[in-house]
């Protein structure tokens, strides 16, 4: 039968519940590690050391975090409008194509123009690829969950065709574009700080990390402080009330999807312009999907998203180091651990909410 509504104070909802679920995930992951005869404590120590224990490790961790911030925010914005955008992969792919076209076509331009234009092109590409499913849902009622998945496949096929037949580097056996012009490359952070006399090891972390931080603030302002964000949240929470309030749910669905796709485009900016300096196949590497877990765990709030993105950054980088140091813990094992975290933090969330609510109410009652 129906039980009491789960009602938690904000701090518990945004901080305690995710902490409890991550802790539970770590315990289960520890059991998995134990089952193959390794020490969970040692594995955890290696994981943390590999991701946060050195400047190099930290650089890699933040590079991964950048990707997760973009894809997590993308899913979060759509969530607020009541939409489930699982097309981050496809949107980032199209964003990459747009960015590559900009970088290669506008090669004569100086960096100060080329970089912003290429970033805008990426955002526009991602926005376009999310807008179309949004438009189809708003006007035709085709569900974005279905259409964004299909658009992932279309984008994946399109990039193969373009890289092989149209934009590919002549004479290369790899499906990739020629290198972008030098001035289109985003400055690595170690070079940037090197200019101020700080010596840092070379890592893929680049200025798109700053763009990701700016996006966190911008999304917060959009969702919680702007008129448009108010409209987005109204549509997400109660479409009937939105219509009554003169907010067109159809328009908001299209706008929110476009913003969501533009944010997913950030993944292409980091990977293509910041790290690879050209467009390669499969650069999205599943970051778009992990973004769903990041947004769920972060409750759609930019603060939560940034913490969840950092957690996954730690898991990716620390996991890579871990499997390097401990050959028994393979790459696949690390994927399993990541999967356990996603399962616990994303899917089993309600379970932990109830648990925390029960604990809190029994604690609250005791002193009385």
């Amino acid at each position: 039968m129906s039980a009491a509504p789960i009602d938690l104070p904000r701090w518990a909802d945004t901080a305690l519940v995710p902490l409890v679920s991550v802790a539970a995930a770590l315990v289960v992951a520890g059991l998995v590690v134990l089952s193959i005869g390794e020490s969970p404590l040692e594995a955890t120590a290696l994981l943390l050391k590999g991701s946060l224990g050195s400047l190099e490790g930290l650089g890699f961790t933040l590079y991964y975090t950048t990707n997760f911030i973009f894809t997590g925010l993308a899913v979060a914005v759509a969530f607020h409008a009541g939409l489930f955008n699982i097309g981050g992969e496809g949107q980032a792919t199209i964003a990459g194509i747009f960015a590559a076209i900009a970088c290669l076509w506008l090669a004569p331009l100086p960096g100060i123009l080329l970089v912003p234009l290429a970033i805008l092109a990426a955002a526009a590409g991602g926005a376009l690829w999310a807008f179309i499913p949004g438009y189809l849902q708003a006007t035709r009622g085709s569900h974005v969950v279905i259409t964004t998945i299909m658009f992932n496949f279309i984008a994946a096929t399109l990039i193969v065709y373009l890289l092989v037949e149209v934009m590919g580097k002549t004479g290369s056996m790899q499906p990739e574009t020629p290198d972008f012009p030098k001035q289109a490359v985003l400055t690595p952070i170690h070079e940037l700080l090197g200019a101020f006399g700080l010596k840092l090891p070379s890592t893929p972390l680049n200025t798109s990390f700053l763009l990701a931080l700016a996006s966190l603030v911008a999304v917060w302002a959009l969702i919680y402080r702007s008129r448009l964000g108010y409209a987005i949240r109204t549509v997400g929470a109660n479409p009937r009330a939105a219509a009554y309030a003169g907010i067109s749910p159809a328009r908001i669905i299209m706008v929110a999807m476009a913003i969501s796709g533009a944010l997913a485009g950030g993944l292409a900016v980091n990977e293509a312009m910041g790290v690879q300096h050209r467009l390669v196949l499969d650069f999205t590497a599943g970051y778009g999907f992990v973004g769903i877990a990041v947004a769920l765990m972060g409750r759609g709030h930019p603060v939560g998203v940034s913490l969840a993105a950092l957690l996954f950054g730690v898991l990716y980088q620390g996991g890579a180091e871990l499997s390097f140091d401990k050959p028994t813990i393979t790459r696949d094992m690390v994927v399993v651990i990541g999967g356990i975290v996603i399962l616990f933090a994303g899917a089993l969330d309600g379970l932990f909410r109830r648990l925390v609510a029960t604990l809190l109410s029994s604690v609250a009652r005791k002193p009385a």
Binding site: M1, A231, Y244, A245, G246, S361
Partner: protein
């Protein structure tokens, strides 16, 4: 019959939500086989008390006894096991399922549905016969009227063996005729020895069906009386703590120019039915026009089409003399032109319950430059605005940051009323202005509406309460089957006359 233990005894129940003490040391005894009324102002703590009895909340302190036995009720399954059933104001039914499927839901009695359904069918037939509750077990719940859906809720509770039935504002959503049927049923239940707890704001209903009545005020029980030893005025005074004017006082209207004119409005719903047919009406400045009609005869459609929520199939609407074409007829534009709308179903249409009260205070007005700068909204400005409205309308608690779902039903209604009435409308469309609000608030809302009219606002009033329509309106239009069947000056008509018009006996036909 000698000294049966009371069906329910609540002893010293207290419950606080943060700083709000919803129940303070409340004690209540409910005699077995009686109908017991509970009245009190909005936010007095009635729903909270019943939620504690039904296991939705656990009391901070106090004791619950069922038939003399102390019981711990920590969930609704505990409550059901103790023979307590509840009919929620917002029904908890699965609309695409049939009546009998809804009844067995959660009590299927095994992995295979067939046995449970067959058993339920037999039991349903027995219950229907015993209480004269005619209902088709195979009807799809979503297609039933509100009154019948409520029956399904009651049957569901009885099927689970409820001896005590709690009804929280059951008549707020019913037409007067449906309410009468409900009371017949409650009397039948009582005759079978069941116990009924009835929460309502309508004192008339308390007087009509209850044996005893308890009055709550600000979280406390302030009186328990035998119904036949009290009067509506006395109850009202006990609830509010002062004398309440149960009558509406108004001066003669100062009618001005016509502001809202509709001609030949026809609305066709998605099933292709004409829900409003060729309706024409004119609202003048400074008058209240009431719509009399049995619910479901086109009132909601009339309000929706005038508010721009639906588009008419045919017809012309003029606002301030100008014809509104289809592009102008959207809620945002109409608000800008001074046409405000208090929707009938405020909780689902007029509010986002997941938002803070302050955010709901600007619903529909989030583009107003007064609430921020450029594309941004200012939380401080919004909070100030909300706080002022809440103080004015006596919304309790005055906490703009509190989530709207956490306000009592009546206080949620007041948040919407404050928002729309305080926007200085030229035309105000009002659906069920006093649904769910307490008598003190009814008096206040009626005064506000009269004051608006005196200030020159044109008001269209839709209410299932014929009494309210007659008391507030200057002019009354009767609706039947989507058609306007007659028009009367309020001073020259009575209930009988309107009743005939509402039944479709139009003067033209006669």
């Amino acid at each position: 019959m000698t000294s049966l233990p009371p069906a329910i005894a609540l002893i010293g129940i207290s419950k606080a939500f943060g700083p709000v003490k919803a129940n303070k040391d409340v004690s209540l005894t409910i005699a077995a086989g009686s109908i017991h009324g509970i009245v009190g102002e909005n936010g007095a703590g009635k729903s909270t008390l019943m939620s504690i009895l039904y296991g939705f909340y656990e009391a901070d302190s106090g004791e619950i006894r069922v038939r003399g036995e102390p019981r711990r009720i920590r969930s609704s399954s505990d409550a059901i096991a103790a023979g307590i059933g509840m009919v929620h104001q917002h029904f908890m039914l699965v609309e695409p399922l049939s009546v009998v499927e809804n009844i067995v839901l959660g009590a299927e009695g095994g992995a295979l549905l067939k046995g449970g359904i067959a058993k339920a069918r037999v039991e349903l037939a027995r219950l229907s016969q015993e209480y004269g509750l005619a209902i088709d077990p195979d009807a799809i719940v979503g297609e039933l009227s509100v009154g019948l859906q409520q029956r399904v809720e009651i049957l569901k509770a009885l099927y689970r063996g409820a001896e005590v039935l709690i009804l929280d504002e059951p008549t707020a959503v019913l037409t007067p005729a449906e309410a009468d049927q409900l009371f017949e049923l409650l009397r039948a239940l009582k005759a079978q020895g069941k116990t009924v707890i009835l929460i309502t704001h309508k004192l008339r209903e308390i007087m009509a069906v209850t044996d005893r009545v308890s009055v709550m005020r600000r979280g406390e029980m302030v009186a328990h009386v035998e119904t036949n030893r009290t009067s509506p005025a006395e109850l009202a005074e006990a609830m509010v703590g002062r004398r309440v004017l149960l009558r509406v006082e108004k001066s003669p209207r100062q009618r001005g120019a016509p502001v809202l004119e509709a001609a030949g409005l026809t609305v066709i719903d998605e099933r292709g039915c004409e829900t409003l047919r060729d309706a024409s009406l004119t609202l003048h400045e400074g008058e209240i026009v009431g719509i009399a009609g049995v619910a479901g005869n086109g009132q909601s459609e009339l309000l929706d089409v005038l508010a721009g929520l639906t588009q008419p199939a045919r017809g012309v609407i003029r606002l301030g003399g100008k014809i509104l074409n289809a592009a102008d007829r959207n809620p945002a534009n109409l608000r800008r032109l001074g046409l405000m709308h208090i929707p009938e179903d405020r909780l689902r249409t007029g509010l986002v319950t997941a938002f803070a009260a302050a955010e709901n205070a600007i619903l529909g007005y989030h583009d107003d430059p007064a609430f921020g700068r450029g594309p941004f909204l200012s939380p401080t400005l919004i909070e100030q605005h909300a706080r002022a409205g809440m103080q004015d309308y006596d919304v309790r608690p005055v906490d703009p940051g509190l989530k709207t779902a956490k306000f009592s039903g009546g206080n949620q209604q007041k948040i919407v009323l404050a928002r729309e009435i305080e926007r200085a409308p030229k035309v105000l469309l009002v659906g069920q202005p006093t649904r769910g609000v307490d008598i003190g608030a009814i008096e206040f809302i009626h005064r506000r509406l009269i004051a608006l009219r005196d200030a020159g606002v044109a008001i269209l009033l839709v209410s299932v309460e014929l009494e309210e329509v007659m008391a507030l309106s200057d002019r009354i239009l009767a609706l039947c089957g989507g058609q306007i069947t007659g028009e009367r000056e309020a001073t020259t008509t009575d209930e009988r006359d309107l009743g005939l018009l509402m039944a479709g006996v139009s003067e033209r036909a006669a």
